[in-house]
């Protein structure tokens, strides 16, 4: 007790902050505020921000303000702005760049010692964020961590609708001192395709002894419509997967081609061997995003997405299409699947047309991978995915 007091008297003045995060972003023009301009909450990760703008909003007088770590500063990196020969108005040129390659901002910590760059992009579409056909031909490799990210091209612009756990697996590679290569990750491309140049390959991987210590000894390869938040991967991984993006059509079925081989030994979160064969998981969920947000009225910051906790059981879910049999496929050929959406509620035609609903498509190389049950080496190849709509 005495010594606690003694120590307490010695606590020094707080050092200046070393962190330099953008913690919030506020858009405004002369009339409208954030919620009226944006379709979704801003997607802020450690080095990037994506803003999904509502269709039909005039952004001429747009102002952007950032919330940052106390004491940190943020500034536009003017060097990142491209000269646009077709656009003489500088403001319009910047706006155009937001909707194309994006604009860089630099944050600097309060103590001036640390800084980082954020790439801020805006996306807008009249037709929803999720297309109906996915050949998985468009992918890119992360500059630093070398993992694959899939994207869709809508109206000639890349939309990063597909997310995976690759971003957090880069930590596993770093900790295990494995050089990062696209193949080292659970979610990647393969030349074994049903059509086109490439397909998605999802592979269940070990996370090494560090992952095991946290009761997360494996990482199933996953790919889903939505975004991934690395923050809670050690504490609450089910909330790391943020499922769903706005969709404006009534889905009837999910079709595609897959090939699945199960790894030899299924283990649980404690690495106990389970007497079962691994299986894969493919499903799609349509949910009412507006209803989901309204159901959280009591919460200060309602979530506009479903997570691993509630994707299949939230009251906002209106339809689910789920592969019944994720067992290994026979032979070496692709197997076709066509799964109907089973509706548990009626869809409001007007609301879905105005993008109040989200669709999530989820694929995993180990069905119970979210609970860290699966076989290292299980491989799921998926190609030519299609959402059939009314």
């Amino acid at each position: 007790m005495l010594s606690t007091l003694l120590f307490a008297s010695c606590v020094k003045d707080e050092a200046l902050n070393m962190e330099a995060d953008i913690t919030g972003i506020h858009l405004s023009d002369n009339k409208l505020l954030n919620d009226e301009i944006l379709l979704l909450e801003p997607l802020i990760s450690n080095n990037a921000i994506v803003l999904y703008v509502r269709p039909g909003i005039d952004l001429t007088d747009l102002k952007i303000d950032f919330d940052v770590t106390p004491g940190a500063t943020v500034s536009l990196i003017t060097d990142s702005l491209q000269k646009d020969p077709e656009e003489s108005d500088a403001k319009k040129a910047i706006l155009k760049q937001y909707f194309d390659k994006g604009v860089y901002y630099k944050t600097t910590s309060q103590d001036g010692q640390f800084s980082k760059n954020y790439l801020v992009k805006m996306r807008r579409t009249e037709g929803g964020l999720v297309p109906l056909n996915f050949g998985f031909e468009q992918s890119e490799i992360d500059k630093d961590n070398k993992y694959v990210t899939f994207y869709d091209v809508i109206d000639g612009v890349p939309f990063y609708n597909w997310a995976s756990g690759n971003a957090s697996f880069s930590l596993t590679l770093m900790i295990s001192q494995i050089p990062p290569t696209p193949e080292a990750y659970p979610t990647k491309t393969t030349k074994v395709s049903h059509s086109g140049e490439q397909a998605v390959l999802l592979e269940t991987k070990t996370t090494g002894s560090f992952g095991a210590m946290f009761g997360k000894p494996i990482a199933a390869g996953n790919l889903f419509i939505g975004s991934f938040d690395t923050g809670p991967v050690l504490t609450d991984p089910l909330s790391a997967t943020r499922f769903g993006m706005p969709f404006n059509k009534i889905p009837l079925s999910l079709e595609g081609y897959f090939k699945y081989t199960a790894g030899a030994v299924v283990t649980d979160e404690k690495m106990n061997v389970l007497n079962m064969t691994d299986s894969c998981d493919i499903y799609a969920v349509l949910y009412n995003r507006k209803e989901l947000i309204e159901s959280q009225k009591a919460i200060k910051k309602p979530l506009d997405y479903l997570t691993g906790h509630n994707i299949l059981k939230d009251p906002s879910v209106v339809a689910i299409a789920k592969l019944q049999n994720g067992a290994p496929t026979a032979g070496n050929d692709f197997a076709k699947f066509s799964i109907p959406f089973i509706y548990s509620a009626t869809v409001d035609d007007v609301a879905i047309a105005s993008l109040d609903y989200n669709i999530a498509i989820v694929m995993s190389s180990s069905k119970y991978g979210d609970r860290f049950i699966g076989a290292v080496g299980s491989k799921l190849i998926i190609d030519d995915l299609k959402v059939i709509t009314k």
Binding site: V11, E14, M174
Partner: protein, 254 residues
């Protein structure tokens, strides 16, 4: 392994000394110049930075751990006032501390596997459990202030016989590698730096004793370790920690 033999040798040496002293006392050849004491006591202190670094924002809880000492001391009285003590003490130097930290540079490791760890800057609550056991050899000069009071001072060398330095981070977050790195929420991340605790601790003691009667005396002694208790090259904590302890005990003259 070498340590073990060293300690055994020390113990044998001390017991031989005690036995010899005993004989000598019986023979009454050395007279009152030479005596043996045994001491026992408790202590409060810890492995602490010299001054609290800025990263530590609050000490939430502190309790002593393994707070004991048991020792034998050979006294040689040079003249009326001055004497010298050679001792052998088996003691615990430990603490359980619970602090709130901000931007604390650390490493979380996988089951003591030094190759698999996560480095970065941690903000949140962190417990530090130090349960080190040492065999210490103090060499003290003594000065008799009065019939009742003595003061002692001198260096010690301590050999760690059991090293334990571990803890966990709760209710916080880690920034991977740098303060602007990926932010990971941390609920329960364990760390264990036991293997990085130095085998030897060198320091100095300053103490006083009070003779209660012919046989018994009370003892108060401050020990300060000169070296960082962690090995050179240990970077998982950005500041050095020293063994700093206040000992209180009683002694018995054989």
């Amino acid at each position: 392994m070498n340590m073990k033999y060293y300690i055994i040798a020390l113990v044998v040496f001390t017991f031989t000394m005690i036995a010899q002293a005993d004989e000598k006392v019986k023979q009454d050849t050395v007279g009152n110049n030479f005596s043996i004491d045994i001491i026992a006591g408790g202590k409060i202190g810890g492995a602490a930075p010299l001054s609290l670094p800025k990263e530590i924002r609050k000490i939430n809880k502190y309790t002593p751990a393994v707070p004991f000492l048991l020792g034998v001391r050979a006294n040689y009285q040079i003249d009326q006032k001055w004497g010298v003590i050679l001792g052998l003490t088996f003691e615990g130097k430990g603490m359980n501390a619970d602090a709130t930290v901000k931007g604390y540079k650390t490493t979380f490791n996988a089951n003591d596997d030094p190759n698999e760890n996560m480095r970065g800057y941690y903000t949140g609550d962190i417990t530090t459990k130090v349960h080190n056991l040492y065999l210490s050899i103090p060499v003290l000069a003594t000065y008799k202030l009065s019939e009742k009071w003595n003061v002692q001072a001198g260096p010690y060398i301590a050999f760690a016989v059991k090293r334990k330095f571990f803890g966990e981070a709760t209710n916080g977050y880690m920034r991977n590698e740098v303060p602007t790195g990926e932010k990971l929420i941390v609920d329960e991340a364990a760390y264990d730096f036991s293997k990085s605790v130095r085998n030897i601790d060198v320091g100095a003691s300053l103490g006083t004793s009070y003779n209660i009667n012919k046989k018994w005396f009370a003892l108060a002694q401050f020990d300060y370790g000169f070296n960082n208790i962690m090995k050179t090259g240990f970077e998982s904590i950005s500041f050095g920690m020293h063994n700093i302890f206040m000992n209180v005990g009683i002694g018995y003259k054989l």
